[in-house]
């Protein structure tokens, strides 16, 4: 069913369809969950091994103190960007096509930020000392250094995770009430507790709407600040290829780009697994693809600006690293990244391609591969050829790092799909609002048409007379 007929869906049917998705997904759901659980188990084993033997097993040594763990951290933080940010922006601009897809996009934000938060802990090696980053009075009278971008990261990510979780939860309350009214057993208890006694009273709706918009206003600048701060981890160092003024906007654009691609992947996946064909329509996919294409072009521009500013700066260290990137040992990574993230998205310029669900699914995966490689080529190549030639060394990530990377994808997908199985991933009340307003607009335009025909007939009669 296409969106132009979405106004014909009955409200009761919306409830029924979404509630059915919680009970009866396709069998693929269990297959995907099984594969993801296996990946997570492998990751847990790799982490246990690293914990036991030390960070050396991850092949991290001078000068490669940062490698895949930090690339993954940046990738997952980036992924977390689009969900809440796009949901908030589209809410503030009253774009009604966000309504069937914003819930899962926000959930994507929450779970990717939870996945990202694991990597600094893994990267630390001494996992048991992680709490030292927290500012609390202690017997050593030592406080964390708030001048460090790493501390800014901790503050920004905590704020972003808390705010995104609350934004997701608040937006879900009316739907939890619907679930409560229709569920049985443990689900009934869960939804009753979480819906907090929502009854759809006018005062509840008014408070809800005001709160939701205010939270959205906070989340837009917050999301931008989080990735700017992640960029500061690099830009505030003196490493060649990292010490670049345009890094924060470049990171934000990259985050939005990979996040939009992830939304497309999950859109097609959920549409198939939970049978949301009537709600996740080609029209919405088309709009998301156009947005992704536009952001891809912004990211490309910033990427080229970065290369150009390094080239024209004539700084020998910066230039050396840039040339090493394109023609050195990591060249394949850079060229594949450029193909996946710069060339491939041009397919979205074609309407026929944008309307093909599975083509878009594979393209979104290609883009994400490109963006993951982009994070890797930001972190690793500059470390391999920095200011100190005697430390130059090319190191590729070992099995432990790669296993933990794969496990993070399994972990994210498992959490995300479990969420979609327990909570409604399509917002029922917002889709009802969309249907209501579209129906109203269409009946208004029908009335206008009738009025016009009537006026034309009168004019014709007058003319004939």
């Amino acid at each position: 069913m296409d969106t132009h007929t979405m106004k014909d869906i009955e409200w009761a049917k919306i409830n029924k369809d979404v509630l059915n998705s919680l009970e009866k997904p396709r069998k693929t759901f269990w297959v995907v969950i099984g594969v993801c659980a296996l990946l997570v188990l492998c990751g847990a084993a790799a982490e246990a091994y690293q914990y036991q033997e030390g960070l050396g097993v991850a092949l991290m040594n001078r000068p490669h103190f940062w490698q895949l763990y930090i690339s993954n951290f940046v990738f997952w933080i980036g992924m977390s960007h689009s969900g809440t940010l796009l949901s908030a922006i589209l809410l503030l601009t009253k774009a009604d096509w966000r309504k069937p897809i914003y819930r899962f996009a926000e959930a994507m934000t929450l779970f990717s930020i939870l996945t990202a938060a694991i990597f600094p802990v893994i990267h630390l090696g001494r996992v048991w000392d992680m709490y030292w980053v927290l500012p609390y009075p202690n017997q050593r009278t030592i406080w964390p250094n708030f001048r460090s971008p790493l501390l800014w990261d901790a503050a920004a990510i905590t704020t972003y995770a808390t705010s995104s979780a609350l934004f997701l939860y608040i937006g879900m309350i009316p739907d939890l009430a619907i679930c409560r009214d229709n569920a049985k057993g443990w689900r009934k208890k869960l939804y009753t507790t979480l819906s907090l006694g929502w009854m759809g009273r006018a005062r509840e709706w008014m408070a809800f709407r005001k709160t939701y918009v205010l939270l959205a206003c906070f989340l837009v600048p917050l999301a931008v600040s989080v990735h700017s701060i992640v960029a500061s981890d690099f830009a505030m160092s003196i490493m060649p290829d990292w010490h670049i003024t345009s890094f924060p906007p470049y990171f934000v654009a990259g985050a939005l780009y990979s996040g939009c691609a992830a939304i497309i992947t999950l859109f097609v996946m959920l549409r198939y697994i939970f049978k949301f064909e009537a709600y996740m329509t080609t029209e919405i996919l088309d709009k998301t693809a156009k947005l992704t294409f536009a952001i891809a072009m912004v990211w490309n521009y910033l990427n080229l600006t970065e290369y150009a500013s390094i080239w024209y700066s004539n700084d020998m260290f910066e230039k050396e690293v840039l040339l090493e990137k394109f023609f050195g040992p990591y060249a394949l990574v850079v060229w594949v990244m450029l193909f996946c993230a710069t060339v491939a998205p041009f397919a979205m310029a074609f309407e026929k391609f944008r309307h093909n669900m599975w083509a878009m699914f594979w393209l979104s995966l290609v883009i994400q591969l490109g963006m993951w490689l982009e994070r890797f080529q930001i972190v690793s190549p500059p470390l391999a050829s920095n200011h100190e030639p005697w430390t130059w060394n090319v190191v590729w990530p070992g099995a432990v790092q790669l296993t933990l990377t794969l496990a993070s994808f399994g972990w994210f997908t498992m959490l995300f799909l479990t969420f979609c199985k327990v909570f409604p991933s399509v917002s029922m009340y917002e889709v009802k609002e969309m249907v209501f307003h579209r129906r109203k607009a269409s009946s208004r335009s029908e009335m206008d048409d009738l009025q016009k025909i009537k006026e034309d007939m009168i004019k014709t009669e007058e003319g004939l007379a």
Binding site: N15, N145, W152, A156, T158, A202, W205, M206, T211, L222
Partner: protein, 177 residues
């Protein structure tokens, strides 16, 4: 002793009927003072709710504003106090003990975090949640019907019921609390 509340809870097919019934009840109330309070329940936000029921006083944005300011001040105090506490342990070598440009990031995050939390607190205060479900609450309201709850004096029950019936109520429940 607390006076018992008499309520009539009726459900309607759509917003238009709900709007008509509220208007009728208001007219009746102007003439005969029969209604004490009207409450509207709906599956989506009523597009003209304030035009029907009047404006709601919910200054949530004030909580947001003062929450954000409190957050900024607290975050600044934390960073400044930590820098002071570290002064003897970690000499600054001529640099500012309390560096404003760096602290701005933490202050910004603090403002947002406290702003969000205080907005949430305001939401709970003004929406009256969390609360128990009312016994007469109809599940149909979360599906596709509009509910109207009218608080009345017992002697006016029949007049109000007749009005609700006339406007096409699908179901009317009578409650004494």
């Amino acid at each position: 002793m607390r006076r018992k509340k008499h309520l009539l809870f009726a459900t309607f097919e759509d917003f238009d009927k709900a709007r008509d019934v509220v208007s009728e009840l208001k007219v009746l109330d102007l003439k005969e003072m029969v209604v004490e309070n009207i409450e509207l329940y709906s599956p989506i936000e009523h597009p003209e709710v304030e035009a029907i029921l009047g404006e709601f006083h919910q200054p949530i944005q004030r909580f947001t504003f003062f929450g954000a300011i409190t957050g900024a001040v607290c975050a600044f105090l934390l960073t400044a106090a930590a820098a002071q506490a570290m002064f003897t342990v970690q000499p600054q070598g001529g640099k500012a003990v309390i560096p404003l440009p760096m602290d701005i990031v933490i202050v910004y995050e603090g403002a947002i975090l406290f702003g969000v939390l205080s907005t949430l607190a305001a939401f709970f205060i003004y929406s009256g949640m969390p609360r128990r479900l009312r016994k007469y609450y109809s599940q149909k309201v979360s599906e596709d019907q509009i509910g109207i709850e009218v608080q009345i004096l017992p002697e006016n029950k029949e007049k109000v019921r007749a009005t609700l019936d006339k406007c096409g109520a699908l179901e009317i429940r009578e409650v004494i609390q």
